[in-house]
Amino acid sequence: MSEEKKLPRIEIIEKYCKGCHICVEFCPTKVLEMKGFVVSVKDLSKCIKCMQCELRCPDFAIKVYAE
């Protein structure tokens, strides 16, 4: 039964990320975390593909590929 939920791919462009925390804080399911000064994915399985992180990032640094 692999009608399993398909996980998105989250791309973080590290040279653009300024570590502002906005994506981490406003992710409804706490998928993201800070690793030093840049963001990283903590638990991809929790991602509900809401795109809030990508939408709010002021720096074009996080992209969610949901299909």
């Binding site: 040279k15 300024k18 502002c20 925390h21 906005i22 709010r56 002021p58 074009f60 992209k63």
Partner: protein, 273 residues
């Protein structure tokens, strides 16, 4: 699917210069989505600014761009629009640029109801020059030039625009990112002067001085203070205390300046009255 912003970004310009958590980047992305949703052509779109952090925005846009003198975006943009009325003319800038040194140009562009769209990023401060107070710095808040609290009352940019004659006036916030593109797109489509105020944050020169511990606190404030106009209709004056209305605040259908000016040309040549 991840959004393709590269379509309108000038190649090689990212990362941008704005500080971590500065909302200007969120507004830049909203503007791109608005332009994309209307399929605006780069060569038919002029993006015009004055000076300030917010006014750096056109540098990132792969369009026809003008980065002019402090406060003078509206004057240059008016020239562009009158010379090339078929172009989409979009002004961008900050509260200082638009309502202090450029306040005069701002109100008269509104009064003329010229078909332009002005996106004004209101972070309540002169960010670029280190945090001097601006005409929108709230009463009692701190700036480098008001260390004991701002004695002035502040401008409400949207009300100022309506009073001066703009025919489309809207307000959004950097927190409500998915609304920014919709407000700007509606402003672009409106025939006449459109003013879209985006309440913004400057963590570096305003947040720090006013004891917002982080960018997140500034974003949470925007989240809490904003009330959509529709929701406000059902709220009491007491519930609306300290809130700021967002959405389309005013819309009117009145004669547009380029069309009126065309009539001047025709009258001078003995044509239409």
């Amino acid at each position: 699917m991840a959004y393709d912003y590269d379509k309108y970004i000038r190649p090689g310009k990212l990362p941008h210069i704005w500080c971590p958590g500065c909302g200007h980047g969120i507004v830049l992305k909203g503007l791109i989505r608005a332009m994309d949703s209307l399929n605006l052509k780069k060569e038919e779109t002029a993006i015009v600014s004055g000076i300030g952090c917010a006014s750096r925005l056109p540098g990132y846009m792969d369009c026809c761009t003008l980065h002019t003198a402090h406060g003078r975006a509206a004057a240059f943009a008016t020239g562009v629009k009158l010379a090339r009325p078929e172009m989409n003319v979009i002004l961008v800038g900050g509260d200082g640029d638009g309502t202090a040194i450029g306040g005069n140009h701002f109100i008269h562009a509104c009064r003329r109801n010229i078909d332009m769209t002005y996106v004004i990023m209101n972070n309540y401060i002169y960010g670029m020059t280190g945090g001097q107070f601006s005409p929108t710095t709230p009463h009692l808040m701190k700036a480098s030039t008001t260390p004991y609290g701002n004695p002035d009352p502040s401008f409400d940019i949207a009300k100022l625009a309506i009073g001066a004659g703009a025919t489309f006036v809207a307000r959004g916030t950097a927190f409500h990112a998915n609304q920014i593109d919709k407000l700007i797109a509606e402003g672009i489509q409106h025939k006449g002067m459109s003013v879209i105020e985006i309440l913004d944050d400057c963590p570096t020169t305003y947040g720090r001085r006013n004891k917002y511990k982080s960018v997140i606190e500034m974003m949470n404030r925007l989240k809490e203070v904003a009330v959509p106009v529709k929701a406000a209709e059902k709220m009491t004056a007491e519930q609306l205390q300290g809130k700021i209305l967002t959405g389309v605040l005013y819309k009117a259908d009145l004669p547009e300046y380029c069309a009126e000016y065309q009539k001047v040309i025709e009258r001078s040549q003995g044509g239409a009255k």
